[in-house]
Symmetry: C2
Subunit: 385 residues, 2 copies
Amino acid sequence: MSFAFRITHRDGAARRGIMTTAHGDVPTPMFMPVGTQGAVKAVTARDLEGAGARIILGNTYHLFLRPGDGLIARRGGLHRFIGWPHPILTDSGGYQVFSLAERRTITETGVTFRSHLDGSAHTLTPERAVDIQANLGSDIAMVLDECPPLPSSREALETSLALTARWARRSRERFLEVQAQGADGVTVTNAGQVQFGIVQGGVDLELRARSAALTVELGFEGYALGGLSVGEPSDDMYRVVEATAPLLPEAQPRYLMGVGTPLDIIESVNRGIDLFDCVMPTRNARNGQLFTRHGPLNIKNARFAEDDRPPDEACGCYTCRHFSRAYLRHLFQAGEMTGSALNTLHNIHFYLDTMERIREAIAFGSFQAFRQDFHRTYSPRPLIS
Amino acid sequence: MSFAFRITHRDGAARRGIMTTAHGDVPTPMFMPVGTQGAVKAVTARDLEGAGARIILGNTYHLFLRPGDGLIARRGGLHRFIGWPHPILTDSGGYQVFSLAERRTITETGVTFRSHLDGSAHTLTPERAVDIQANLGSDIAMVLDECPPLPSSREALETSLALTARWARRSRERFLEVQAQGADGVTVTNAGQVQFGIVQGGVDLELRARSAALTVELGFEGYALGGLSVGEPSDDMYRVVEATAPLLPEAQPRYLMGVGTPLDIIESVNRGIDLFDCVMPTRNARNGQLFTRHGPLNIKNARFAEDDRPPDEACGCYTCRHFSRAYLRHLFQAGEMTGSALNTLHNIHFYLDTMERIREAIAFGSFQAFRQDFHRTYSPRPLIS
């Protein structure tokens, strides 16, 4: 199956489509649960499928350090290794190098760093990020980009953006070379892998436009917006998405990295984004926060101790069909892993169900009504009753 | 549905039967996974059903302390609270009071102790243990017994045994009273609950016989052997089981508490035991030990890093059908909860599959051949290849 993206419906700037990958179709807009180290934390692949997941994200930085991309290639690639037959997107490892690793040094060549696990020294270059992801065999690979800290001066952003553009060119060249003829130490475990470029530029619209132009000219199969949802106000993010999305090729998928809250996703779909990923549903689940149609609720709160209602009475997930807030609170208080599993299943279902409702609204031309309704009924702050 | 036990096949001293409870039938011999705090650790009820579990054990001590038996009664009982519609057996809480709680004082009345969670003071009497389990609404409740430390002098064992017998009488009287007419502060959440007595007496056959006689005369619906698998040599345990099981009513279920290894279970079935429970399959799973037909394997061992085989090539469980030793080792090394879930599912399946093979062998009159075959092919020590 070769990669394709077909837009089937439009509603304003929002698009509904089907992204075809080497491991199957993904309806868009879609959210990708994060499977950091080869597993979406606390749940099994079967439960993940049951909750509606169709594509997951793997973190190259983590998998490169442990168990190693070479080991995964010898197992036949990431899909086989982790028992997930559906699409996988891998990031480049850059974001974690910039946020987790120690003693980073950035040069024109790439970035050297020490592992947060054992202090071992490593170098990640644009070419190496391509090679690692070829070993992993994800369906969508991302280019290595620099993630400048926020706030940065305009000058620093410009310098970073230029470096990211040069890295993107090297990434694309290496990707085409490796896919066409392989390379030493690389096993192309997925002949259908494609590569997305990443647009940077902070919250400066002019720099975003410049980055978009530099990235698009390299001819990737899809484009991401990076460097957002890193602490800037939501309105700044929406402004950047609104201005930058139209500068990306209309017929290709657009991915907003690391986003986000349910409202951020809806607002970004409204501005033409097709793909999202975020640790929020899974991480918050383990911390006892459950998403509902009325807003998040913190299950550890004492007021849920004798609450026989499911987390969300309108939800059809396994957790909501079988378990009460009282039980989930007990499991959280008792530190039971089963609680993390049940909370994670619910939150993933909530996110994926929201995406399905978004897709349906776009198909019916009622996305604006859906969006307004969501804003009216959903509280971004934890519910208190 | 009223409680019943029907033996359908015999093979030597081994029995195959069906135990009917208020929440359904349990084929015997059967193993009960331990759901300490209202959850079998790391897995969901759905996964537990999928692995073949038909009856689980709940720990009264833990549930009494948190979230409290009153709260569970207000939720409609333990089955409803934890979303497990199948049979549940609860222990009396005594074993954990003797092994986990602090500052214990035993008197004729009962035992006072401080919670291991918050140091709060509590008293557990035979009557209170009945009342708590009535609130929980398990299908099988256990009497409160004293668990003397091993080794104990014969005199200490005799004193303890006499106290346990007096407690058993009080337990039975309270149970019949509560089931017939209720009691203040007690909600009988399961009108079909029955009660098992417990035979103590250490590894002294004469004391075991005396305890059996004192317990059987009280007319319980089933009988357990307590105070075994607490550090004594296996041969001592087998000797006690072999001598004591025939002293229990032929037509009623016999439960060997806290046992055990696969070989201990087979040897005890061979001596007439019908029910077992143990944390071994679940706890060892979280510590990375997987049971296979050839013996346990420790998944963290480096030799499994590139092993593409499932934990057990003959196993049909979800884990073995989809995941390799290499992947499970990676999840263990990475500290991923998903690894605990997959290991737990496998180990529970292994235990329950072993029970099914035991039942089939008894039905076919080939239990001795099965037992000899198991001894020949199963290594009790971790496998090294």
